[in-house]
């Protein structure tokens, strides 16, 4: 039996972001905690970009409840596996739209091209960008899985990141 992946860092935040300042603080916190074991600035930027976009989505679309955000980094062979999980309630209309978008992003053979097409559609739209999740897929290079049960939405953005060797304790 394979041994469970060794967890290198884990952070769970349960709050409903209501301001840009709160989102910036939480994103900085993730960067500081996960920056150390990941090490590479580009990979850290991918993670913080994804977290920032996800927190803004929670601020905009989560229903009046306390959503949760978990960020977990575990060892995956020589590299790391980053998982950013959110759980929140949302309206039926909102869930239908998000589910449709996530399905298309998961299926996209070329995430950058899918992102470009979404940008073109978004440019013509007055309200909302609809680009946050596509940006996570294309720019942060994370894949998605999701589950909708009644009004509860769970999204996981995940992907491989580099991992620094473990530091021995002094």
């Amino acid at each position: 039996m394979a041994s469970p992946a060794l967890r290198r860092a884990y952070l769970e935040l349960c709050y409903r972001p209501v301001s840009a300042r709160q989102i910036a603080s939480a994103t900085r916190l993730v960067g500081e905690i996960f920056g150390e074991p990941i090490g590479e600035p580009d990979a850290i930027a991918r993670v913080t970009l994804a977290v920032h976009e996800i927190l803004e989505n929670l601020a905009k679309y989560a229903a009046e409840d306390v959503p949760s955000l978990c960020v977990e980094l575990s060892e995956d062979g020589d590299a790391g596996l980053i998982e950013i999980r959110t759980k929140n309630r949302a309206s039926r209309e909102c869930l239908a739209l998000i589910g449709q978008l996530l399905e298309s992003l998961i299926r996209a053979d070329d995430p950058r091209e899918a992102y470009r097409e979404l940008m073109a559609r978004s440019a013509a739209r007055a309200e909302g960008s609809g680009l946050g999740l596509a940006r996570i897929r294309a720019e942060a290079e994370l894949q998605f899985s999701f589950e909708i049960a009644a009004d509860l939405l769970q999204i996981t953005a995940f992907g491989r990141v580099p991992l620094q060797p473990r530091r021995s304790r002094a």
Partner: protein
């Protein structure tokens, strides 16, 4: 067109400072382009595009070196700006030359996305 014609944008955590470098208009972004910045940025970009088209400028330099982060809602404002340029008459079109900060890794990825969206309009470079 003179520098007086373009008002800077100054918010608590985000600002845009237009300056002239000879006949070149430089727009310096700084701070954090977050959810509070979207509406002012959208209005700024729309106004700026009208002014640049009227002045028949051929390029605008966007200095992103002081920009800590830009969220997708603000990013959409840049997408709409590029889209508006592309949809202008060919002789009116101008280029956007983005100066990126190599120390902010997200900029390389996001600006590359803009170039992918408007390859004839968007240029990216590094300046010391």
């Amino acid at each position: 067109m003179t520098a007086v014609g373009i008002d800077p944008l100054s918010l608590e955590n985000f600002s845009i400072a237009p300056t002239w470098d000879g006949s070149t208009l430089r727009i310096a972004f700084s701070g954090n382009a977050d959810m509070d910045a979207r509406a002012p940025l959208e209005a700024f970009v729309k106004r700026l595009n009208v002014q640049v088209l009227a002045a028949k400028l051929k390029r605008v330099v966007c200095d992103m070196r002081g920009l800590y982060f830009m969220n997708s809602a603000c990013f959409k404002c840049l997408v709409q700006w590029i889209d508006a340029i592309v949809k202008s008459e060919v002789e009116q079109q101008y280029t956007l030359n983005f100066i990126k900060n190599p120390k902010m890794a997200w900029q390389a990825r996001s600006l590359e996305s803009l170039r992918h969206f408007g390859p004839a309009i968007v240029h990216i470079k590094i300046e010391p």
